[in-house]
Symmetry: C2
Subunit: 446 residues, 2 copies
């Protein structure tokens, strides 16, 4: 499919391309764009923008914020406004908040007052909260209705695409219950809705963190979750498809933070933007690497005498960093999925110490033996093996504690913990290896 | 809540605990268990096993495979069989396949023949495919029905908890269409079902990879996806709640592989099992670290003469590894989310080279200046800065190419790519730093 679109583009047969695209779903168009060069992607997007704004808007939503933005920012403010107007208000709010401020302002001015006030209401909530990602138009049923009246209301309602749950409200719009379409079909039409509905509704409030929203939906296997304000008034819903996006984004954020990448750095982010996002992390990394270097510098006289010690520095640092990262990663993921708490921290720490002792001794013996066979110096083998055992045990402890402590301080445990842990293991590794070497080698035959 | 359960446990007031738990959902029990010590968790699980097998089964499902298994394996085969019988067949299959073989066999023998054949059918499909994770009991409607008859069938059907989509089949059970409950309510009861249904159904086959299933459901915003066999017969469905689990598991797998941890290593995995899972990765890491060490060994005479070079080895290795990991992580995540293809690889590579040149020069200048100021040797500054620039550019190239090539070879691009990349940057970093130093330092005043 991508092949035929590419051929048509090469022949400048734009109306053919348009006709071809019009038959597809936005999801299919995004799959086609994936197999194209950047230039071809821009052409396809141009055609969509000129000939089918609605489809362009849907495609942008499927492509996601970063990729969508890369395409969008090449267009004029008028065009950006035109396509964003076609979006649901939650998607529109997400794109607008990612636009440069002047452009965002112009786009908001182009919208009619109702659209714009809906979007601005969403933008009034902090990023990554339920209020920001909810759909503010909720279809709800009044609690005084009968089941028959409720079914009639549903039959006549416009644009009611996804009715999984029907929320029931009182006259002041307080959420009082929930009922499913199938439940309505199972009882007599004259039954009062109030008798059929479930009153124990799982809700979130507008300021609930989006990760918590996703955890609730996943935990209770929901298809949608209602959002209420402080006085339990129904103000929006979040559907499971948006929750899936949140789960993916939060996983990306964790993966990226562990690697020292900003969450919104992306394959399609322009090179200079990526530089701006990554360079600060590298500079922090440089500072911590220099800290480790000062430890080595303390022992420079020992290295000057026994230069073969330098050969093993990367081994000490590499293995310590790696085992720390193993523990850290298991911890960070467990915390993100809500499987670890501060209370269960103690038993996890004990476990990780056990793992560290076992792995430390095993790796210490292998590394020590290799070093002995290589350099023919049994004391070097002992020093290297001992230092690595110490370092791997410490790595397990630090890898457990750093994310737990960050979480306790309500800092995202993924962020920066990798730098903490590897710096710590570098320092401990070099101190123990070069310290032991300085102490032992000078009193013993080389 | 966890607090009151803990108090009751301490007083051995088991029937009070049981009464308290019986009022809760499985999801709530899992949240309570999270805040307990391992020992308390086992007590709660014992009480559930003795008094409410159904709730115990649901709780295990919410806890997930690894955590659930840690609790389950402390019980007898009879008890394990008893609780697994209470599960839906997809969850039962998942737990059984994770049990030690003898136990699994005993559990299957305890099931009645229909349960056991359903589970064994699922187990007949390879792990991580649609066949393995689907629910094999699908409620379907015959294409010859009228809408009124269809609604009646739905009203009388037993155990029809989640009807998002109603699948329509012909007399030989081939999938021919799909219709929603609301669509049925919008037309006259006498309309033939065939006229109302959508015939363009998105399906997966039993051998579709679970990650692909998840991508389809997410891409098309589905609540469930039907699974068909080779001849388009409807054999199962996968609902969005199971897809959410797949998305989380696949994200965990990527995060873990990037850190050198097996996907099923888990907070609750016993220490010695974790040792077995992590040690092989550390041994591979040791081998690659020793490879990097041999590069340093080549230049040992240079280090013997200029011992301050050793001080900067961790800086060279650290920054190269870190920038390689940044690029690698963005690539691996992009590949997993289906946002990168082999075709778009060229433009991504060009971007990463640009990023590498910019970051390389910036970090090279800073590191070189620090080294010059620290050691008062301008040639050292030049050598270090130059080597780091080279290394960071190479890191960008390798970080882009390794996952792309692995993907092309249909290997999971997350697995082992981190070891490849950091070994490569270690080797290139040491070669360029110590190579340049050997060449330049001996001809110039120190």
């Amino acid at each position: 499919m991508a092949g035929s679109v590419q051929k048509l583009l090469r022949r400048n047969a734009y109306s053919h391309v348009k006709n071809l695209l019009a038959k597809l779903r936005a999801a299919d168009i995004s799959s086609i764009m994936l197999e194209m060069t950047d230039r071809e992607q821009r052409s396809v997007f141009s055609i969509l923008m000129e000939r089918d704004r609605q489809l362009a808007a849907e495609t942008l939503k499927v492509l996601g914020l970063e990729w969508g933005l890369a395409l969008l920012l090449q267009r004029s403010s008028e065009e950006i406004g035109g396509v964003i107007r076609e979006m649901e208000s939650d998607a529109a709010a997400a794109f607008i908040s990612a636009l440069p401020e002047e452009v965002a302002q112009e786009v908001l001015e182009q919208m009619d007052s109702q659209e714009s006030s809906e979007v601005q209401e969403l933008l009034g909530y902090p990023e990554e909260t339920a209020g920001r990602i909810m759909t503010p138009n909720v279809f709800s049923l009044h609690e005084e209705l009968t089941v028959g009246e409720a079914i009639q209301t549903i039959q006549t309602a416009q644009e009611l695409e996804m009715v999984f749950y029907l929320y029931v409200v009182d006259e002041r719009n307080h959420l009082v219950g929930v009922v499913s379409l199938r439940q309505l079909l199972m009882v007599a039409p004259t039954s009062p809705l109030r008798k059929v509905m479930t009153t124990d509704v799982i809700t979130v409030t507008t300021d609930t963190d989006q990760e918590e929203v996703a955890n609730q939906v996943a935990l209770y296997d929901l298809l949608a979750i209602p959002v209420v304000d402080d006085s339990n008034k129904l103000v929006g819903t979040i559907t499971v498809d948006d929750v899936i996006d949140v789960i993916k984004d939060e996983a990306t954020e964790d993966i990226f933070y562990l690697a020292g990448v900003e969450a919104d750095d992306h394959i399609h982010t322009p090179a200079l933007t990526s530089v701006k996002k990554r360079l600060p992390w590298l500079i922090v990394n440089l500072a911590t690497a220099l800290l480790a270097a000062t430890v080595v510098a303390i022992y420079e006289p020992t290295i000057a005498r026994f230069s073969f010690l330098a050969v093993f520095l990367p081994v000490v640092a590499g293995l310590g960093g790696n085992s720390g990262t193993q523990t850290l990663t298991v911890m960070v993921r467990g915390l993100a999925l809500g499987e670890v708490s501060w209370e269960s921290g103690k038993s996890i720490l004990l476990k990780e110490i056990k793992v560290g002792i076992n792995n430390g001794i095993a790796i210490g013996i292998i590394a020590g033996t290799v070093a002995y066979l290589w350099k023919g110096n049994y004391m070097l083998g002992l020093v290297l093996g001992g230092a690595m055992t110490i370092n791997i045990v410490v790595a397990g402890v630090v890898g457990t504690l750093v994310p737990l402590i960050l979480k306790k301080l309500t800092v995202d445990p993924a962020i920066a913990s990798s730098i903490f842990v590897t710096t710590f293991t570098d320092v401990v590794g070099f101190l123990s290896f070069l310290g032991l070497a300085t102490f032992l080698l000078q009193y013993l035959p080389v």
